[in-house]
Symmetry: C2
Subunit: 323 residues, 2 copies
């Protein structure tokens, strides 16, 4: 497509004047907030930018990459279309290029020809990878991460780190040589990035089994700092002395993990490993998300935390959650 560029920094700046244009969402990710909070503020422009611009007649969309660090690096990721709204092309561009186009547009008319080679191919069969250490009770403590990664990089942090931590945590638990009270189950989910298909398939296959708790690691391999928790006050009261054994604090917040979120409806206690994410969004969904960015010592600390929490949850006295 080709058109004049209109630079916007909020949904409110969209309007009839963007008809026939290419909309550039030039909203810098803030560097003065916790990175995952700052990311949460701007992700909407990548996820829904094409829909909202197309509603007003735009013919294409450019999105400033969601990062505070760039070496002329596109930071890519999921975007949505909606029934009944034209599917216009959308591209994530490096922060430097977004800033350049915005500077030029402030001085005069900028016209762009947007030529994208990306295609959405038809779906193919895939599978979750599941393994468990059986316990005396059929109750499940789930340890999860996701196998897929965004296509530009190899996904070392997102979510290779989580996958390795789950494998290592299971290895350590098995090395204890003890049968746990509850079943500890590792789930490496398929297709988290493009729509949680693996998580939904897991729910369909195993959702009727009782899941006491589910823990996810999907914020990279940084030093573990806290557990994110979603649950009832009763679950929280039950969890706190258990989590204390991992030496990490518990934060109540509503995003413990994308894959395990499908278990919320059955009242499962949801937990997310919160590592230091200072540099996570530097490489997130870029060609730079490679193994050299992962600190083995920090990664191992996360695996230890997962192993300890999963084991203690599996052994803890019964909880009757208030559902």
């Amino acid at each position: 497509v080709e058109g004049r560029v209109v630079v916007v920094r909020s949904w409110e700046e969209l309007g009839p004047h963007v008809r026939g244009t290419i909309v550039l969402y030039d909203v810098p990710m803030r560097g003065d907030l916790p990175p995952r909070v700052a990311y949460g503020q701007v992700a909407r422009f990548r996820v829904r930018g094409a829909i909202e611009a197309a509603r007003h007649g735009a013919v294409g969309v450019l999105v400033r990459s969601l990062t505070t660090r760039s070496l002329d690096t596109p930071h890519t990721g999921m975007m949505r279309y909606e029934e009944g709204v034209p599917r216009i092309p959308a591209a994530a561009i490096p922060t430097e290029q977004a800033a350049r186009i915005a500077r030029l547009a402030a001085r005069g008319e900028v016209r762009l020809r947007l030529s994208l080679e990306s295609r959405t191919r038809s779906a193919v069969p895939s599978a979750n990878v599941i393994a468990e250490i059986p316990g005396d009770s059929p109750e499940v403590v789930l340890l999860g991460a996701h196998l897929d990664s965004w296509d530009v990089g190899c996904g070392a942090h997102d979510d290779g780190a989580g996958v390795v931590q789950v494998l290592e945590a299971m290895r350590r638990i098995r090395a204890l040589g003890q049968r746990p009270r509850r079943t500890i189950r590792a789930v490496l989910f398929s297709n988290e990035e493009r729509g949680l298909d693996g998580a939904r398939a897991y729910l369909q296959g195993f959702g009727r089994q009782p899941h006491l708790a589910a823990i996810e690691s999907d914020l990279g391999g940084g030093l573990p700092l806290a557990w994110a928790m979603e649950g009832t006050p009763a679950q929280r009261a039950w969890l706190l002395p258990i989590a204390a054994l991992t030496d990490l604090p518990v934060d109540e917040e509503p995003d413990s993990g994308a894959d395990i979120s499908v278990l919320a409806a059955q009242g499962t206690l949801l937990l997310g490993l919160r590592p230091d994410d200072t540099h996570y969004f530097d490489v997130h969904h870029t060609a730079g998300d490679t193994l050299d960015k992962v600190d083995p010592a920090a990664l191992a600390r996360g695996a230890s935390a997962l192993a300890a929490l999963a084991w203690e949850l599996a052994q803890a006295p019964a909880l009757e959650p208030a559902r």
Copy 2:
């Protein structure tokens, strides 16, 4: 060209076994040394890598980018050929790709097809930009930086920062409204990157004029930390009280600046602004060397230092250097 990859980490590892192969210089730039020192240790592989590999019959060369920070980012720069040695293609590749090829090569044979689109075009006329504030004496105090940049980025740090600092320093000196004792001359050199043509042309045109001192800023726009100095003990003794007025220490070291180095033969006191270069080689010769990487406050501090030193050198009592 096409060939098997041989990974080497020193000149000594070259030998008859690289005949017909593509040599990968996979030498990481050290992160535990001052960046410009670490760069100096490994730059030889980019500059002379093609020559040394071709001597042993290699058909192509890959060089691990000279940086400690990469988002799959090629860090490019000058390389040389030599009379009588075959001119084989050479490419700088991201550290991540170099590490990947090295990992694969450690496990088995890696073959590569190297297809480069770069060309060396014929030379075209260019010019240095020269301006001066005339003094009572014909002696010159030179303030220099270079106008050109490596092609991948816009050269914000290398050497846009130096150019802006020289312009700003001259503006401040002019704003004093005083005629200096000696002539203060700003020189924005052409073609530093590809062979110092501008510096040589300057020497040819102005080298017979007496140059008391020359100062160069070509290490980026970071916070100024010191002056690098090349000169005699007498020049040093004369300089120290003058430099003290800029509140920056003087380091004797042999690399005050590439452009002004052509004045060494006439005994000019050579000085280089040494800024904090912690992040200079993150962007050096990459598409990420853009204005957003420059801290305006640090840049301004460098301009102040240049203005102060140039003015004081122009006003100082006479020096009769021991030549």
